[in-house]
């Protein structure tokens, strides 16, 4: 017993140290779940109110750019509406079945906290469970993909940005439909990397890259970026550097997209795996 006490007295710092580092490591290991824990939500609630105020002040400086972006998006949407009736007018359609036709619901949200300088970037938006935001919903900016919701509290959600080493997205070359996996290499916030495109495919600088919709998170055909340059990687594949169309440095208004048919798709896919 006395030996034990002596031991403890001698190494008490080391023990405290290892204990505290153990807690830190535990938190590191459970990094993605921790947003859901109640205490953290409480603390985040306090700090978010604070951050929201800072962000509001800052956003005044870029109001003009935001307005231009929104106006352009509005024009684009109006154009899409104009095109709509032509596609629908073929044949008879007596029942307007809104449940079956609509696959995606869009919710507009504001980014209130954002970072681009870490290796694992997240941003926070001002909508949460009460506004229908759920984990695994897609987030797009007015120009292209922005991220995926990874956690939500009643009024806020945390979104994993494209600029996160853990972010993976299935994307394809619009011109020929070959798809690969998009990820961020942690270097520059303007560029991402598209891999797994076979070398026999014709790739040109400036080609449009869009989402495939295979993952049931992003709708098909959302803009991702354009080909910046490409090089051969190993024997079979290209590594393509993509210039992202979303400007993460001035992310402000985002669109959260929920897929109404997601569970149906996933359940069916699960049957055959």
């Amino acid at each position: 017993m006395r030996n034990l006490l002596n031991f403890l007295a001698r190494y008490n710092n080391l023990i405290v140290f290892i204990f505290l580092e153990g807690i830190a490591l535990y938190m590191l290991g459970h990094g993605n779940n921790y947003h859901n824990s109640r205490i953290v939500n409480g603390v985040r609630g306090i700090t978010l109110g604070f951050e929201k105020r800072i962000y509001k002040t800052k956003s005044y400086l870029s109001l003009h750019d935001i307005n231009v972006g929104l106006a352009l998006e509005n024009a684009e949407l109006k154009n899409r509406l104009e095109r709509q009736p032509k596609n629908e007018s073929q044949g008879f359609l007596s029942v307007s079945d809104s449940l079956n036709k609509q696959q995606y619901v869009h919710t507009s949200a504001e980014v209130i906290e954002n970072s681009i300088n870490r290796q694992k970037n997240f941003f926070t938006i001002n909508k949460g469970e009460r506004q229908g935001i759920k984990v695994d919903m897609a987030v797009t900016s007015d120009r292209g993909v922005a991220g995926v919701v990874v956690g939500s509290s009643p009024n806020y959600s945390i979104v994993m940005s494209v600029l996160n080493l853990d972010f993976k997205l299935s994307a394809r070359i619009k011109a020929n439909g070959y798809f690969g996996s998009l990820s961020w290499d942690g270097k520059d916030y303007r560029y991402a990397t598209l891999s797994e495109i076979p070398q026999h495919v014709l790739v040109n600088v400036g080609d449009t890259i869009e989402t495939t919709g295979y993952s049931a998170i992003f709708p098909e055909g959302v803009m991702v970026g354009t080909v910046n340059n490409y090089e051969k990687y190993g024997g079979d594949f290209y590594t393509i550097s993509i210039l992202l169309t979303s400007d993460f440095k001035k992310l402000h208004f985002v669109d959260v997209i929920g897929n109404l048919k997601k569970t149906e798709q996933l359940d069916l896919e699960k049957l055959f795996k």
């Binding site: 535990y26 938190m27 870490r118």
Partner: protein, 167 residues
Amino acid sequence: MINSVLRFGLIFILLILLQILLFNNIQFSGYVNPYVYIMFILLLPVEIPSWLLLVLSFATGLIIDFFSSSAGMHTFATVLAGFVRPYVLRVVSPRDGYESGDPSMSVYGFRWFLSYAILMVLIHHITLFYIEVFRFADFFRTMFRVILSTIFSVAFILLIEFYRKGR
């Protein structure tokens, strides 16, 4: 006693506010992320018991983690910095040894404070940046980030210290 608790409480709050409101918003090319809050660990009195130093480091890291939504990263790095501080103090010890009180620039001089700050910040930043990336694939690029950020952190810490000394 109460006086110094109040004083360090104030320094603590000021540094954390500075970190969250100012330095976390510096987004300069993705290579420079100064983490100035580590200065709190630097400034604690020499004679502080080690366990208290560790607990305070833990609290500092935890708060920064909460505010920058990075689970455990800052906690781990700051606790490590708190653990090695006595050894760093021994390595850089001035000729006449330490008196009790703050290890500040006004007492031990600029050169002593500079080497102390560089060592501590470097240890903290190396741990932090490598945990953040969590792989050795881009070893040299991460090292480059560590070195650049260390330069900026130390520069800001020196600025704050000069300001404290000047008062």
